[in-house]
Symmetry: C2
Subunit: 344 residues, 2 copies
Amino acid sequence: MLRYDVTSNDWVIFSPARAMRPEEFSRHGSRMPPVVPADYRCPFCPGNENLTTPEITAIRDGGPANTPGWKVRVVPNKFPALRIEENHRRQEQGRLFRQMGGCGAHEVIIASPDHNTPPALMPIEQLTLVLRVLRDRFNDLMRDTRFQTIVIFKNYGPTAGTSLAHPHCQLIATPVTPRTVRQKLAISQQYFDQTGDCLYCTLLADELADGKRVLAQNSHFVAILPYASHVPFEIWILPRHRQSSFRWIDPSLLHPLAEILKTVLLKLHVGLGNPDFNLTINTAPRGDEDSESFMWFIEILPRLATPAGFELGSGMSINTMLPEEATNFLRSVDACKIAAAACG
Amino acid sequence: MLRYDVTSNDWVIFSPARAMRPEEFSRHGSRMPPVVPADYRCPFCPGNENLTTPEITAIRDGGPANTPGWKVRVVPNKFPALRIEENHRRQEQGRLFRQMGGCGAHEVIIASPDHNTPPALMPIEQLTLVLRVLRDRFNDLMRDTRFQTIVIFKNYGPTAGTSLAHPHCQLIATPVTPRTVRQKLAISQQYFDQTGDCLYCTLLADELADGKRVLAQNSHFVAILPYASHVPFEIWILPRHRQSSFRWIDPSLLHPLAEILKTVLLKLHVGLGNPDFNLTINTAPRGDEDSESFMWFIEILPRLATPAGFELGSGMSINTMLPEEATNFLRSVDACKIAAAACG
């Protein structure tokens, strides 16, 4: 069976013949090194502030910058993909070769002073602080008009692209709007022009009406496993009240967002045995931040399968698990186990 | 620095600050299990033909089907992503939910009776046979008018999506044209409409004129590391005489194609210590097979880096190695070492 993703115009191949049972996915749990060598000084741990580049901002109870006492700390990435100092001039090198300066920003948000607590087990209050810092950094960086898009992302575990165990996430401000972002905007804009409705609002309403893929909800947010999920256990957290850019989220909504995020991460953590995953925030670029036809949302992509030659060559995904089955499995994840895990 | 990929309209971020030296990439050599357990019966080895589904075709010196004596053997994938028996009807499930039957084909091409020889070390004659079988299967499957695109791909090594050591590649016939294929066609079509030239021919001419990223060439094919490579050591093998679909390749060109493919794979094998990689053939879908504005070509993507949250969230790539440097490194790969590897 194939399913059509109306937000990207991709067909996704669902291949139950290749499927594992949900339980089997948990064998793929994170291979994050659990034991830290005795002589290892984690650059993100309190007391080691001198091992990072000087901090950009931090939430702390008084005390000077770059010393312990912080709850969340933001530093420039030591190996930045893009840098504020670079220019963003386009340069032609012949008919077809075009380059531009590596202008942008690349920051690391150290999400907790506690080295060993994965995000799923963090207190909701700590997650709320992290979301607040992300919102503040987003707004601050958008004052630099050279930046078009802010990409917020978390890599969790080696197969997701990090081997740093200390909880952290990152953001990159890019000097161009990525093509795929532009295409998603064009698709939702066209839907809006045709129907007068936001594509994502309609999708959310239909998912709520169908119900089979709704994992969690509170008064402000809904977590679903989308109809045309590209990977097993893909999860979206959507706001009930549409906004085009994450930068506009009302501060009072950060706590309910942290709450549903924690619920979702905990179900993945317990149900699938601490899997590697990537998390990103889909959000509108400069110029479309007040669009009526787009919605920011959080996307969580567990790294349970390896995209191979077919996916790389065709751009199509093969997903071995229907989102309805994945939802059923995550719904059934034992609340007692979750409570026990949450307590330590 | 960012570079623009004129074939996809993507900007690629080049981030030398994050770079390893070329030599360091070879630490990531394939973790393909080198030793086969004594009690393991490889389903792709001669004598074990009964462990696969019955063969579709084979090249053999006489003898009945599904017995030893073959040189290349094609069997249906045991866990197919798509199947010939399924229908391809679209079905609406509400306003936004649309699905279709999993109609298609999924075949495995067993590339050699020899279990232990990676493709880089295969004789050119054997590679030629494999390419011939791929061309024949492509043409045979396209007689089923439900199939729109044939995706040919090879996964080599665990990080590239396979742990089967026995040399093989695969093809999937899809009942829809993937969106990314459609977009590349639209981009090259627009270039043709504007200029009267094929975008890929122009790109190849410019790469040959510039010369800095040309790795190998013979009278029919050129291997380059493209200007806007998305991953380190990405390699394209392009035909000098443009055709839109691989299915039209003249049989006399299969040997020179195998020859340059072997050169390229051997340089990767020796230079980077047997890295995992994916290989695909970019080719036009049904309806565009005679297009004047598209060109089939082979794309090789070594799996030396892990795409993470930024790439998944934005669709942009971060590449830590300029293709000029990668070309220099591969050019310098010692010819004696290569000869020794080829003999041993």
